[in-house]
Assembly symmetry: C2
Homo-oligomer: 336 residues x 2
């Protein structure tokens, strides 16, 4: 592994000039820059991040904290973060927080304090006051995605508005008997998202002058099978039947589609279903949904964090804007 001295010797300059030429910091003549580049190239030299970060305080590495790796939404966000950061020459080191509080305190108390990262992106994790403080104490730029945390710069989608949009889409199609599958109270301990989606649902109904019917709500756990079971409840029991379902996630919505089919309902003729997320399987099931572009959320988070890293007192990074979303009408919703 060639070192900076060898490059300097081969290029006929000092190590300082090599450092400047390769990092783009400070003034270097075009000629010297070119010789350094060539020398580095021919020696296969790459700046050692260990040495460079010790000397400069910069690691070119961003820590990403996620609660799940094997749920589609989080993978998609991570994918977006990764590609955007890579494009800028940054590495990403991954911290998978589980529910296990030992793991959590290890991550916040040790792993993140190793000075391995220049900044942190926290993806949809509800942090308690302690954890938030520990993050802040790192003294690094932090960007959170989702789950608004007043102490952290957060990129957040307006979940109330999303849910309202979905609900009003249904109302616009003439539906009035609309049921909601969403917020399981237990799940909501970690994320406020389900609650907000439920609020949006209620706002949507209100805007259409439709009274809230407590029977038209069923909690589920944000999995396909949870959605399936919830839909079976809603559709199978005696009493009034909804003509449309607003489901708080695409995965649950897919479960609901399957449940409806099993019970002999045709979607969308007998039952309209709308979800939220923009899940990759939505296309296959022709699911109408409110897309929240998870990949784009990751990319935006990456850019926000890079902006913070590049910010100066003279030119501070601007606060992140609200995340975009879009109603994607496909085949699971239709006029009553």
């Amino acid at each position: 592994m060639a070192s900076i001295d060898e490059v300097a010797r081969l290029a006929g300059v000092s190590t300082a000039t090599v450092s400047r030429a390769l990092s783009g910091r400070g003034q270097v003549s075009e000629a010297a820059r070119e010789r350094v580049r060539k020398a580095a190239q021919s020696l296969g030299y790459v700046v050692s991040s260990r040495a460079s970060s010790l000397a400069s305080g910069r690691t070119r590495n961003v820590g990403v904290v996620v609660p799940f790796l094997d749920r589609w939404f989080f993978s998609a966000v991570l994918s977006g973060v990764s590609s955007a950061l890579m494009r800028h020459g940054y590495d990403i080191t991954l911290y998978n927080i589980t529910a296990d509080s030992d793991v959590r305190s290890e991550v916040f108390g040790t792993f993140l304090r190793r000075q391995r990262v220049d900044a942190v992106i926290a993806v949809s994790i509800e942090l308690d006051a302690d954890e938030t403080q520990q993050l802040l104490d790192l003294g690094l730029p932090v960007i959170a995605i989702g789950g608004p945390n007043p102490k952290l710069d957060t990129l957040t989608v307006d979940d109330v508005a999303l849910a309202q949009l979905a609900t009003e889409h249904l109302i616009g199609l003439g539906h009035r008997d609309i049921a909601h599958i969403g917020a399981n109270p237990e799940f909501d301990l970690d994320f406020h998202i389900p609650t907000n989606r439920r609020l949006g649902f209620e706002k949507g109904l209100a805007s259409g002058g439709i009274p809230l019917n407590p029977v038209f709500f069923e909690p589920a756990d944000f999995t396909v099978s949870g959605g399936y079971r919830a839909a079976k409840q809603l559709l199978g029991r005696p009493g009034p039947r909804p003509t449309a379902l607003f489901v708080a996630s695409d995965e649950m919505a897919i479960g609901a589609i399957l449940a409806a089919r099993d019970l002999g309902f045709r979607v969308p003729q007998d039952l309209s279903i709308v979800g939220i997320d923009g899940h990759e399987l939505g296309e296959f099931f022709q699911l109408t949904t409110v897309d929240q572009f998870p990949l784009g959320q990751g990319e935006r988070a990456a850019e926000a964090v890079l902006a913070k890293l590049a910010a100066t007192d003279a030119a501070p990074a601007r606060t992140p804007a609200a995340l975009p979303y879009e109603l994607n009408v496909r085949g699971t919703t239709a006029r009553l």
Copy 2:
């Protein structure tokens, strides 16, 4: 951020002793060790990985190279890698290789050469000779998962045997008209897995004395909708119809189940379906499958890499064994 000197002062020892006490290398009296631990704790001191790795050459960080982040199989493997490595105090930095050859050469030519990692785990990426060489030239322990590469220590599941097991399960249930959904030749440029599964299918048929029927094969792209389309082809066209399907992945198998239902076939009464993987949705669809425990694969890879890191010339790490798999009979296969 407290530094080692402060800890040393507070504990009344030299920095050398602090280093030894905290790293567990070298001899330290129990008393000194305890004082150091207390001092570090009270100052909130964590060893700086920048300084430590520059001085020692060890980073406590493993690079993980994956081709996809948003496919369930890879997320599951990554999840396993992450939890196992974390347990041992290791960080993981993630390199998401895309098909884009610029990204690939950046990762192998630059990112991985920054001396940020002690070892590399490559998850199911088919590497060309150049890339393999670049990995080897890093001079680091490398463990690959899947896609056997003779130059790399590889943890690999016997795909031929898996496929044969699935096929023979069908034969054991009395099926003889068995179709296969699998290897799309184009997809196979990157992974030999589909080909091996097809070979296993053929071996299974042969062991049951069943001649290969070229009509009973349909290529697909390992997605749900790919499986759906392929199954529609197989079941919908004139001519002989299979009574069972061996599908080379669970995601495609789920597509096949849906296709069968849409065509009015009852699963498993009219059609048996078996997949491969152990996908999280398998439970919901009651899919019979050959589970290959992706999470466990990740954990094993992590352990293998740690073993290599701990290995000495006197006690080299043993070569990794074949990965386990298991037939999980659920509801989509039945006697003819």
